[in-house]
Symmetry: C2
Subunit: 136 residues, 2 copies
């Protein structure tokens, strides 16, 4: 049976990275591990790891991506929760059997080789949920 | 210096607990640790612990609480992120010095003795952030 292991990260969509870092890094004191442009996602992402799950701040760098449209429609705030799973294909099959709507029919592969897929908020009670398999 | 230790939980506001459990517990397979009425919050809360941070599903049980109004206005979805801190009073002082707006001026105490306080979304980039001190 595929199993959810942990929350990997919580992603926050932001419209002003410096202003957001003034809160998460400077006021709360969480260390900024990396601020990276992710062209594949048309975003700039700030990674703020904690013990266990990390906070990610995601700022769209174009206005035509899914996250840019989300920001335009709903404003800044929480965007998705990412769950680490040990067997992403197995979990996706299990979800399909339960009639859960997936956004990606097959896992996508990130630049660093992680498999990921999103579950549609329609099937989760309004939460965009990402599944993430880190090790094979 | 007060320090953020980890994400303690992510809270999801739901309008139909059984339907939400059909996703989080039955489809994803996360174990339901406890389903509890929390009269002080006028809510029913499902606790779904994972390694590290847990998922909490919160369903208002009246229509006059803050979370009931949130649900009526914005619909079901992510509600807040809770960060564990080692020194909540110290952190609240630090935030005040940085002109971060707090919802609670003093920590509140839960039934089981934990200190908690909320930071206003206005100062966080649209995210309701809870601070939680578990041990003294």
């Amino acid at each position: 049976m595929p199993a959810i292991k942990s929350i990997n990260h919580v992603a926050v969509v932001v419209d002003d990275m410096e202003k957001s870092l003034a809160f998460w890094r400077d006021a709360l004191g969480i260390e900024l591990h990396e601020l990276r442009n992710v062209p594949a996602e048309k975003s700039q992402v700030a990674f703020l790891p904690l013990a266990g799950a990390e906070v990610e701040l995601v700022m769209p760098t174009t206005d035509d991506s899914g996250i840019a449209k989300y920001l335009a429609k709903r404003g800044p705030g929480m965007h998705h929760i990412c769950l680490e799973v040990d067997d992403i294909e197995g979990m996706m099959s299990q979800l399909r059997e339960k009639s859960i709507r997936l956004i990606n029919e097959e896992p996508r592969i990130s630049d660093d080789g992680k498999k990921y897929a999103f579950i549609h908020p329609e099937s989760t009670g309004g939460v965009l949920v990402e599944l993430y398999q880190i090790s094979a």
